[in-house]
């Protein structure tokens, strides 16, 4: 019966890909220090979405991986010192299709980030492009880096 043949789809590479993905994740977790937090269960307990936080001097920038989500699918709320992302990502099988492989997970998420300094909520903007969310938060004036002039003493 020909149907059984479809089960072998990408059989050759599947094992290596899985191994590599686990290795990748191991390194990423190691980089982020999450392995210390005892996150051994992997996927299920991993915070979603994964995010990086940058300090550009005048802004705090959060960059998160949100594949499949558009502008309307992410809710963002900000206070002076915390940012929360929430929403839902759907990844179920389309209707009428059977499943051969399921690695992408659907998730209902709400994730908060404590910010390292006070931000100006009015000066916070967000964009989603190709599944990458970028939230730019202007620092409040007293958190801005300041140039200090050194006076010569007579």
């Amino acid at each position: 019966m020909w149907l059984t043949g479809w089960g072998d789809f990408d059989h050759d590479f599947a094992v290596f890909d899985e191994l590599r993905r686990r290795m990748d994740r191991l390194f990423q977790d190691f980089d982020s220090g999450r392995w210390l937090a005892g996150d051994r269960a992997g996927l299920a307990t991993q915070a979603w979405p994964r995010a990086n936080l940058f300090d550009t001097g005048s802004d705090i920038v959060l960059v998160a991986e949100v594949p499949g989500l558009g502008q309307k699918d992410v809710q963002i709320s900000a206070t002076q010192d915390a940012l929360t992302l929430s929403g839902e990502r759907k990844a179920e099988a389309p209707e009428g299709y059977s499943v051969h492989r399921k690695e992408r997970a659907g998730v209902q998420f709400s994730r908060s980030f404590a910010l390292p300094c006070k931000i100006n909520v009015e000066k916070t903007t967000a964009t989603v492009r190709n599944g990458i969310l970028t939230v730019t938060m202007g620092k409040s004036p007293d958190a801005q880096p300041r140039r200090i002039t050194v006076k010569a003493q007579a």
């Binding site: 479809w6 072998d8 890909d17 940058f54 300090d55 594949p67 980030f113 190709n130 990458i132």
Partner: protein, 126 residues
């Protein structure tokens, strides 16, 4: 002496620039008309996605936007290239393969050739 092993090696040329890459997460679905492959490729735009079909081997490669260079306060992922290969089963109509990329998610349609589609056979009354 050319063994099976060395010959196989010859067919796999080495890459000039070896960049670290990540295997994207993939779902594979099937209905009576097609195989549907869905892959998460956050950060990849259409211009930076390559889908290559060579004999039986389908390769998906994507290069995301450059990582930010500012100092990071917290880092959970890196913008690495995506690369993953699949063996395409026989019976796929190669000329009709098509793909969409939306919000960093690739949907690759691999239509079955007509010969493989289930067909209803009418039973005639004798």
């Amino acid at each position: 002496m050319s063994t099976e092993m060395t010959r196989r090696e010859d067919q796999r040329p080495e890459r000039v620039a070896e960049r670290p890459s990540l295997a994207p997460r993939v779902d594979v679905f099937e209905n009576k008309d097609e195989l549907l492959l869905i892959a998460d490729l956050p950060g990849v735009s259409e211009a930076n996605l390559t889908i290559h079909l060579d004999n039986e081997e389908l390769t998906i490669e994507g290069r995301p936007d450059e990582d930010r260079t500012e100092s990071s306060l917290q880092r959970e992922f890196r913008m690495l290239d995506y690369r993953r290969r699949f063996v395409v089963p026989a019976g796929i109509d190669r000329n009709k393969i098509n793909a969409e990329l939306t919000n960093g998610v690739l949907r690759l349609h691999l239509p079955k050739s007509d010969a493989l589609k289930p067909r209803r056979i009418d039973v005639k009354a004798g």
